[in-house]
Symmetry: C2
Subunit: 408 residues, 2 copies
């Protein structure tokens, strides 16, 4: 079946490259739909969606965009227009995949057009700056595919032809296999980290009950941020948010921040959630070991991952923030509190063992939690098998009242 | 034609994911060749290359690797073994593409297996940490393709199935289109940056003469570092290394460093080179604007790209380093010196205009350059059309004595 693949780029500077990808796609029997985000310079051939149409989708004329006099602002406006066009095509089920090609300007254009397309929709950016610090994770889609061009995209040569052919072949392969995700079994998300064990028990127990389990590695922008996005896409029937350490990261400028709206999406969408304070006794230093505070307990996981013990005050503040977020939830919330420890570091002999901090967290949580939060204190460590059993037992109770969580 | 695709990963933790990709590949009529880099845990099915064979390729037994007692060192050794096996397969022309799948351990394993495979050979890593700071550009192949898994790879579910299917479809598409790069026209590489203009003139002049031109954006590890690697792969007949700013970056800890061996590969391989001091009057600050030295001239290209004017002393040191590197070249070297300026910043009214620094650079270069270097002073700015004409004129002379640079 012929598929339609969007190519987004700037025809004035990358016309040869875009034409090469188009030809490959058409030779494979598919349709290429070129969206031109270029601003100045001449166009070697007519695209399917012109720069004027892209500017128009952003609510401007091309002349207005050029008159911004700032290349960065201009490309951001064109990116906005391109993204709107691509979303309209997606919603009309008129496209099956998207590929972008560019240097620094084309990359920002292409990534913007891809960023908010749903998970599972094939999206590939071929870029000369794919893995430089110029491209940050917050500019990308959650399931972004990126290909580094080893040489500059400055016309076709024996190297760029091979790279572009490979990229075109990849997007054609993906377009041919492209399917929208259809959730058949009710889907439950669990957040965790390597220092937490409950998934090993909870996952098979839920699967036996007929659920599918998505595991979220709660490590920031590619972790808890994903949970928030997937929840907003209405894919989840329940959230077991048992590792919410990204909240304390956010409050203290930690390296694993997932944005200020972490722990909010499930509540906003009314999705039943069971929450626990996994990894809420520390956060990650965003610099090298030698710049870390000398007066804190530290845990060096590897040279890039450096845990810093939170103070009781920081933990109290985190508890208040957690309560404030959960108080606003539109769905049921159960908070399971493992009195004996928050992760493998927080146990006798562990790097961050802290009964006092835990007690401070609990007191603050109790004081700030509204009546919608069911708070259950368990005389267990979060890594005990019995804790996992309690989570599943609570899950069984909570989802009894949730139609979207019923299995066949 | 059936193709062979290597799948590299750890069967103990990613068995389901690897099996899923294998099944997709086989359903498309191709052969999957599984290389298991796992160390502990049980194996759900037998791979084509076992963990014992991988350990053996690294010159160890699996027991020796386990007894290292350090997960990082163990996976590095397995990565070394996997890379050796993959290279043997490549050299025997037994493989057409490689895909890796993993979390942080599997990603380090997969990237190591891919890193030294030639440019143009399809290489895709599906990773839960693709765009985190844990993955740095020096761990990747020059034309690496990476796909971010939006959720943890912890068994199959409706999300991971779609992601893995898309990835498998991409690598199958690339394998089907896979060809080794065959250089038909003599290939000339030119280094440049956005503040340099000569490529606009030189490229068409060389193409008229029957050459192919590869443009290298000299911005560090994905820039000049590539030139060095491509030169070592014997793909180039001549190098026009007219933007060597990465040398002064390296000396001063700049953000656009390309390694300490920059400006050496062409010389080592005996490739004729024409060199000019493009962008040798400044380097890039590796931190934010507020941490930059207050006593230097600065140029903010964008919030991430901050130029710092080099002192005359730094320029003199750079000239000595350049001379020392070029003195060791086994092929002909011409150094074209544009007396009126090194790039668009170094002209009257420019942010880094510096006749004094340039004079210091020239004097130091003259003092340190050996007899093999032909040094030509030109009363031109590097962005003058006449400078580009001089480069091409010199190229015509130099390649007259170079059999690999003769066009049909």
């Amino acid at each position: 079946m012929a598929r339609t693949i969007v190519i987004v780029g700037t025809l004035d500077t990358k016309g040869e490259e875009i034409g090469f990808i188009r030809d490959f796609i058409e030779q494979k029997g598919h349709k290429a739909l070129i969206v031109d985000g270029g601003i100045t310079g001449s166009v070697p051939f007519a695209p399917d969606i012109s720069r004027d149409e892209v500017a128009g989708a952003a609510g401007k004329t091309l002349a207005e965009i050029v008159s911004l006099g700032n290349e960065g602002a201009a490309i951001a406006t064109m990116a906005d227009g391109a993204a709107k066009i691509v979303h309209t095509l997606y919603n009309a089920r008129s496209v099956d995949a998207i590929i972008g090609v560019g240097g620094s300007m084309g990359t920002s254009l292409g990534l913007a057009a891809m960023k908010h397309l749903p998970v599972g929709f094939p999206k590939l950016m071929v870029s000369t700056i794919a893995f430089t610090p110029l491209v940050t994770v917050d500019t990308m889609a959650m399931d972004q595919m990126m290909m580094q061009s080893p040489v500059d995209l400055w016309g076709l040569n024996v190297v760029t032809r091979r790279i572009l052919e490979s990229a075109a072949a990849a997007i054609v392969g993906m377009a041919e296999a492209s399917e929208r995700i259809v959730v058949e079994k009710p889907l439950v998300a669990i957040t965790t980290r390597g220092i937490l064990k409950y998934v090993n028990w909870i996952k098979p127990m839920l699967e036996e009950r007929g659920y599918e389990v998505v595991v979220i590695h709660a490590v920031g922008m590619v972790g808890g941020k994903t949970l928030e996005t997937v929840a907003r896409h209405k894919m989840l029937c329940s959230v077991l948010d048992l590792c919410i350490g990204e909240v304390i990261e956010e409050l203290n400028g930690g390296a694993l921040r997932a944005g200020s709206d972490r722990l909010e999406a499930a509540g906003q969408m009314g999705i039943p959630q069971i929450v626990a304070p996994g990894s809420m006794e520390f956060w990650h230093w965003p610099g090298s070991v030698d710049t870390a505070p000398k007066d804190r307990k530290l845990h060096i996981h590897n040279p890039l991952v450096l845990g810093v013990k939170a103070t009781t005050e920081e933990m109290v503040q985190a508890a208040r923030t957690v309560a404030e977020k959960l108080n606003r939830a539109k769905g049921p919330v159960t908070f399971l509190f493992p009195l004996l420890g928050f992760d493998a570091h927080d146990q006798p002999g562990g790097a961050f063992y802290d009964p006092e901090g835990r007690a401070g967290f609990l007191a603050a949580l109790k004081a700030a939690a509204g009546p919608n939060i069911k708070l259950v204190e368990l005389n267990l460590h979060i890594n005990d098998k019995a804790f996992a059993d309690e989570v599943v037992s609570e899950f069984d109770k909570v989802i009894a009242g949730s139609p979207s969580c019923q299995t066949q």
